[in-house]
């Protein structure tokens, strides 16, 4: 049977208090980190939008969580210099191993800061078009118009030409209608103008234009430029193409 001396009790007591202190620091630190991250997210959301808010929230949490971890280790007198040196070496190793991911992550920050599009926008990117579902630190997720899920790394997004289809409310619709050179040009222009005026999807202002863009031996190209609300672009294109063709046919132009 072992004798427990007063010194043993003191050592045991101090070990327990050290553990309790460490656990308290860990719990309180993580709690504070969570609280601060939520606060940071809420403060940035109204000014910078949901996505920047989400990133700020995550960064705040991880920085404070790391500080808590160091404080936790400090309670046990663990030499942080060694840990930091090891972390540095580990960081370099991870950096080499994950340079693509890190590149994507940095590009992610630029995408968020540059704001070429926002969640919900319709965009064209690398020959693909669709709605932006999410912008994470590593990638941009898109639901294409034909309902496919597309994940594009942020480094590719940064280097790609992006067309944001949702940026402006109205779009100019450009159509080419072809007639034969023997047809009466003035009559064709008049008919096209009348068809455009009768279409309720075409805006009265800005006004439309009909240009003659090409006259050759076998054809005359009429380019129609009409402004329409963004969400009526495809319907207006179909209606105008059909109506102009029908009107030309009825007038014997073609």
């Amino acid at each position: 049977m072992t004798d427990i001396t007063g010194l043993d009790v003191y050592v045991l007591y101090s070990q327990y208090t050290t553990v309790i202190r460490a656990v308290l620091i860990l719990v309180a630190g993580l709690f504070a980190a969570k609280l601060a991250s939520i606060l940071a997210g809420r403060l940035t959301a109204p000014k910078f939008g949901g996505h920047v808010s989400s990133v700020t929230k995550n960064i705040t949490f991880y920085v404070l969580a790391a500080a808590t971890l160091f404080a936790f280790l400090g309670v046990f007198n663990i030499n942080l210099t060694g840990v930091l040196a090891a972390a540095g070496i580990l960081g370099i190793a991870i950096g080499f191993a994950a340079q693509t991911s890190v590149g994507n992550m940095i590009s992610g920050f630029f995408v968020i800061a540059d704001k070429p599009f926002e969640i919900g926008d319709a965009i064209e990117l690398e020959g693909q078009s669709g709605y932006v579902l999410d912008i994470t630190l590593l990638s941009t997720r898109i639901r294409t118009f034909d309902n496919r899920y597309l994940r594009i790394p942020n480094s590719a997004v940064m280097n790609a030409k992006i067309v944001n289809l949702s940026k402006y409310e109205i779009r100019r619709l450009d159509l080419v209608s072809r007639i034969a050179p023997r047809d009466e040009l003035a009559k064709a222009l008049e008919i096209a103008d009348s068809v455009i005026r009768d279409n309720d999807k075409v805006l009265v202002e800005p006004g439309h234009e009909i240009l003659i863009t090409n006259i050759s031996e076998d054809k005359v190209d009429l380019e129609i430029r009409a402004w329409v609300p963004r969400n009526k672009l495809f319907a207006a294109r179909t209606e105008l193409l059909r109506s102009i063709r029908e009107a030309f046919d009825a007038a014997g132009i073609g």
Binding site: K167, Y168, E169, I170, R172, D200, L203, V204, E205, P206, W227, P229
Partner: protein, 230 residues
């Protein structure tokens, strides 16, 4: 609108050339039949049908051919704003829109193409009997406070800032004052009362925008319109 009661639990209503039949199927469901097909409304208790007038959802861009205003002059007129007509089903304190008739379907964009507002397009008419129109009459005063002749070809009126009054002699809105700042640049102020010509005005639709009773549109150096609530 003609309403005819049929066999106790049914109701027949004519709405601008279309015929609607409302049948109470059970305590919680009314069937609505029309030429367009069948739909259902989940309403309880006694129901009734009526027509309601309202402004269009978008601001109105009213285009004049061209009005030339001599320096320091002012002109007053009644401007017609078309109203939408809605067929409403009422039950208790609930109302459901069943159909909506909109006469003007052309739209126009006001402002720069990258920064502006989509409006309902209305071509202004000056020769008409003001008290025989179904439209809302806007008492409008246009003033040129400058020292040279200025032109005005279009104005934008946002119905969010207007009250609609049902009067004994027609429908009227609050007064609107337009100050021509330079050619085709203008400031709009919305008044807080209607014309003295309106007989027994009763507010049918209150102002939908609560923050500003007066709105001034100004142009910055780049020609971009800014709407300021005062």
């Amino acid at each position: 609108m003609e309403i005819e009661h049929k066999e106790g639990r049914s109701l027949k209503a004519g709405f601008l050339g279309k015929e609607y039949v409302f049948d109470r199927l059970n305590t919680g469901m009314v069937r609505i039949r029309s030429g367009a097909g069948v739909s259902y409304a989940a309403v309880k208790g006694e129901f009734s049908v009526d027509m309601a007038r309202d402004f269009y959802d978008r601001p109105y861009m009213v285009r004049f051919d061209l009005v030339r205003l001599p320096p320091g002059s002012s002109t007053s007129m009644f401007l017609r704003l078309p109203l939408s007509t809605r067929l409403m089903l009422h039950a208790g304190n609930k109302a459901i829109e069943i159909d909506r008739h909109v006469e003007f379907t052309r739209n126009a964009w006001y402002g720069a193409v990258h920064l502006g507002v989509l409006c309902t397009f209305v071509q202004a008419e000056f020769q008409y009997d003001v008290f025989k129109t179904e439209d809302a009459l806007v008492p409008l005063r246009v003033t040129n406070r400058g020292d040279e002749t200025r032109e005005l070809s279009r104005i934008v009126i946002d119905p969010m800032n207007l009250r609609l009054y049902e009067c004994d002699n027609g429908m009227f809105t609050d007064e609107v004052y337009v100050d021509v700042l330079s050619s085709n640049e203008f400031g709009v102020e919305y008044g807080i009362r209607t014309s003295p010509a309106a007989i027994e005005p009763r507010v049918l639709i209150d102002r939908k925008m609560s923050i500003a009773q007066t709105v001034l549109i100004k142009f910055d150096k780049l020609g971009i319109a800014k709407e300021l609530g005062l």
